[in-house]
Symmetry: C2
Subunit: 209 residues, 2 copies
Amino acid sequence: MKKNEYHHGNLKEEMLKIAFDFIKEQSIEKLTLKVLSDATNTSRSAIYRHFKSKDALIETMIIEGFKEFDNTVSPILKDKSIPLKKRFFKSGEAYINFAIDNPNLYKLLFGKRYAHIREEIINLKNSNSIGFSSLQDAIKEGQKVGLLKKDNSFNKAILVWSSLHGLSTLIIDGFMDIEKNYKNLYKDLFNNLLFGMVTNKIRLASVFK
Amino acid sequence: MKKNEYHHGNLKEEMLKIAFDFIKEQSIEKLTLKVLSDATNTSRSAIYRHFKSKDALIETMIIEGFKEFDNTVSPILKDKSIPLKKRFFKSGEAYINFAIDNPNLYKLLFGKRYAHIREEIINLKNSNSIGFSSLQDAIKEGQKVGLLKKDNSFNKAILVWSSLHGLSTLIIDGFMDIEKNYKNLYKDLFNNLLFGMVTNKIRLASVFK
DNA sequence: TTTATAATGTAAACAATGTTAACATAACTT
DNA sequence: AAGTTATGTTAACATTGTTTACATTATAAA
C-alpha cells in the first residue's frame, strides 16, 4: 500500500485486523466506524464497500474468532499422545486462558447479541466449528475406555462447558477479584468435575495420579 | 397523577418501573431516553431532573435488581427448617430460574460494564448484598455438620457460583438450544457438584436420599 | 396574601453514531 | 481506447445522550 493511492488495496483485511487489535483492549461496543476509518485513513463510509454493515464486519470477526478459539482448545483434546485425563485438564486450562487473554473477543463469541452467527457455525455439517464436538468426542472416548461413567455425553459436555464458561466469565467480568486466584480455582473446579464423572472403579483406584 | 398537571408527580419512580418493564422483554442496550420519555409523556431531557445521567438510572436498577435477586436465593439457603442438601438444590434452582425469567436483568447484574456497582454493593459491610455470603455460610454449615469436605469455603462458593452462572448464561444466551432441557442439565450439574463436595463418609452412605 | 426560592418541566442545540445517496477516481476487461 | 466494475469521498439523515437557557409549578418565608 502506497501513500498517495486513491485505492487502499487491502482495506477489508486491514479493517478486520484493526478491529481485532481494538478488542484486545476495549469492548466491542466501543468499536466505532470512526475508529476504523481513522486507523486506515479513509472516510467513515468506506467500510460499506467491503461490508454490508458494521454488524457484517463483526459477524466476520466472530467466524474468525471461533477458528482461533477452536485452534487453542480442540488440538489438545484430540492429541492421543497425551493421556486423556491430562488432555481434559490442559484443554480446560487453555479454554480459560483464552478467555482471560481475549476477554472482549470471548464475550463476543458467546454473547447473546450474535447468537445466530454462533449457532450457524455450530450447525455446519461435518465441522467441529467451535470445539464442542471435540469435547463430546473426548468424553465418549473416556466412556469407552472405562474412565468416565456412561451418561449422556451431550449433557456431560454441556456440564463441563458451562463450568468452564461460568468461571471464565466471572473472572473476566471482574467478579470479586477472583482473577488473582484463578489457577487454584480452576484446579478445584477440574478436580470436582472430573471426580463426579469418573467410574467407581477409577475413583477407588485414585483419580488423580 | 392528573393529566394536565405540568409536574408529573412521580416521574423518578415511574421511569424506573418502565425501565424494569422494558428489560423484561428487551436488552438494556435498547433502552433509550426516548423510550422513557415517550412512556411518561415527558421530554427526552426530563430524566435529568431525577438522575444525573442515563447510567445513573441504570445503576439504581442494579441496586434494586440485586435486592430482588438476593430475595429469591438467600431466604432458601437460610431456611433451617429445610434439610441442607435440599436448601442447596432449591436455591440453585431458584438462581437459574431467576436468570431464565429475567435474562436481561441477570446480565445487567453480572456483566462487566457495571462491575464497579456490583463490587460496591458486595463490599458494603455487614451486608449479604448479592447472596454470595449466604452461600458461603451454608457451605460452612455443611462443613460443620460433616456433610461437606473442609476445604476453603470461599473457593467452594466460587466454584458453585460459577457452575450456576455458567449454566445460566449459556441458557439465556441461546447456546445450542439447551434451554429446553435445562431442568435435567441442572440436576446433572447439581449432583456432580455436590458429589464432589461431600465427605467420603456421606458419599459411601449414599449422597442422594 | 404576596413574594422569593426551589423543584421540575420544555425546547433548542451539540457532537457522535450508523447509514445512504450522489458523485469521483482507479483498475480491469475487452 | 472505451466501457464497466471496484473502491473511494462528501454531504446529508435520523437517532443517540447531554447541556443550556428558559418556563412553570410547588413550597416556604415575609
